[in-house]
Amino acid sequence: MEETQSPASSLEDIKDIRRIMDRSSRFLSLSGLSGVAAGICAIAGAVVADSIFNNYYGTYNSRGFTTWDEFSLLKLRLMLVAAVVFLLAFVSSFYLTWRKAKKQGLPVWDHTSRRLAWNMLVPLLAGGAFILGMLRYDIWVFVAPACLIFYGLALVNASKYTLSDIRYLGYCEIILGTVNMIYTGYGLWFWTAGFGVLHIIYGVIMWYKYERGN
């Protein structure tokens, strides 16, 4: 009733409007802990990859050469590590976000998360195809920079559909990937910084900003 509309209830209305607008257009249950979990998986994976590299170059240095089979095995092992890291990171991040959504009493799979997933997936699939294309021609040096740049683009794109802070993580990944194009020998280091360290820093900041009290 209009007679009862007071400044206080107007304020309530405005708050309601903002809350509903936010909730209906962005997926807000993304947990900071998801970032931390993904970062830990990435660092663990990088450590394993590093030992695989050391093993390979150890053979090369002591014997002076490596066979084609040994090189194929190196590639296979690295791909396997990458796949396992991706799977673990995905599952753990998904679980933590699912848990947050449950706590908030919000659905995990609604039109906001569908839109987020789709907008993230498009740049990622393009990046994946691009990287596979490079590998076909044995161009290894640009794998890490391409991972970082395409992932950064995916995040910037996704920031319109979730907590907008994720945009800054995207910018950092793009910058890191671009710099990595110059220092091509340090791919694993850049990869670890981008997918490991940055994820953890971002995750902690997000957790501190949005989840600490609850």
């Binding site: 209009e2 509309q5 107007s10 209305d13 409007i17 257009s25």
Partner: protein, 99 residues
């Protein structure tokens, strides 16, 4: 419909109608089920308020199909956007204590 003194729109007095309009301001198009989930209301309740908004030409209804199931979606009209913006401005003015 519009109170000449406060500028508030009577149609938006209702929480559910206010909610529907808020959703449609930021979503090009939304389905009945998504609306229901977002606003946590029952089918019948939501349907009644949607009819009111449609009758006032604030929203447009699109009836479509997903496979064999009907899929009804809603979007805001220009008139609805204008009315809602004016309502929000009126609310803000009330808070600021000016008219």
């Amino acid at each position: 419909m519009k109170n000449p003194i406060t500028g508030l729109n009577k149609i938006f007095d209702n929480r559910i109608r206010l909610g529907v309009m808020s959703v449609l301001m930021v979503n090009e198009e939304i389905s009945f089920n998504d609306l229901k989930q977002l606003l946590e209301v029952t089918d019948g309740n939501l349907a009644t308020h949607l009819v009111t908004l449609e009758e006032n030409a604030f929203i447009k209804v699109h009836k479509g199909f997903v496979g064999r199931k009907t899929n009804t979606t809603y979007s805001i009209t220009r008139q609805g956007e204008k009315a809602f913006s004016e309502h929000v401005t009126a609310l803000e003015n009330m808070i600021k204590g000016v008219r």
